[in-house]
Point group: C2
Chain length 194, copies 2
């Protein structure tokens, strides 16, 4: 039906507004979320049964955007380092949402997390492992740690930009530069830019 289609675009718009707001203020109330999306609390409730449902929908959105980014980054092709750069490029627009979900997930002690995340973790871990096997990456840092560190750096980068202490255009070089190269100068190894 026509209405369903309209609901669909509205729902997506609401979801993205909520993501943008909750990224900045993770404790925002349902009323604030509604206002931020330009709708009433009643309508918000018609889209999402409750706060839980909203957060889970945001989680699904984040997972979806991650999967899309992972696909677009073609992690299997070419040097692993370049794949990492592509990944950060593709995932940059979702970094704020990821930061929100990343910290949100720390709240639940035992609760098993959405299976989608483990799948994403696996794909990213596999990339780092591939880089290690190819001799590109050091082997004394586990893929699990590199994956976790990537999340942390994405969140830190998003916050730095959010707070105005860093320029948005520097986001990718910051994250990639540190994740791959670290803070030390490596005179013989200037990373070639694509």
């Amino acid at each position: 039906m026509l209405y369903d289609r309209l609901m669909a675009v509205d729902r997506d718009h609401v979801l993205r507004s909520a993501a943008a707001l909750l990224t900045r203020k993770s404790t925002a109330t349902m009323d604030e979320v509604a206002k931020a999306a330009g709708i009433s609390r009643a309508t918000l409730h018609r889209h999402f049964a409750g706060r839980d449902a909203l957060v889970r929908a945001l989680e699904a959105l984040g997972i979806e955007e991650c999967e899309t980014a992972l696909d677009a980054a073609r992690l299997d092709e070419g040097p692993a380092a370049d794949a990492v750069e592509r990944l950060v490029r593709e995932i940059e627009s979702a970094a704020g949402l990821l930061a929100f979900l990343y910290t949100e997930n720390q709240l639940f002690e035992g609760e098993e997390q959405n299976q989608g995340w483990t799948r994403i973790d696996d794909r990213i871990s596999a990339l780092f492992r591939r880089g290690q096997l190819a001799g590109e990456f050091r082997i004394d840092l586990t893929p699990a740690w590199l994956t976790e560190a990537l999340y942390g750096l994405l969140a830190s980068g998003a916050w730095l930009v959010q707070s105005g202490k860093g320029a948005p255009r520097d986001f990718r070089p910051m994250v990639v530069g540190l994740l791959l190269g670290g803070a030390l100068r490596h005179p013989a190894q200037p990373r070639e830019e694509s």
Copy 2:
């Protein structure tokens, strides 16, 4: 008076229990905090007027531990890279608390943050700047970003250990290894361990 001294040690014990609990479950209720400390909610309220007061006390504790770690790490001495390693070593025990406060601070949009943090930020930034001026660190990553990244990696590392996906003994090499060296192999540059 005697009671004051007793209260003091109790207060500190309560504070550290609260830190340990809130590190794992940042939404823990006052009742849970009290139970975790082995006291009643009434007594908890006698120590800290309310939740705000408790969090602010935790913030003060975190700042204090950071300052202590910064002092102990002697950031001005020797190569900056070694100073970073010392800093992570000294700050490791507070990493969980830091992670809690770090994410807690993201909640408040405009609210000016505790001045203690800017002071700590400045000291760490100064360390990275020193390393850059000495030619140790690359200059295309700003000290502000390196500082933020350090926080992010400390938090990520703490969570990785918390979740059991990483061994506690690996915490420092993980954080320092990635922050300084990055993921790439640098064949000619094996970092000498102290």
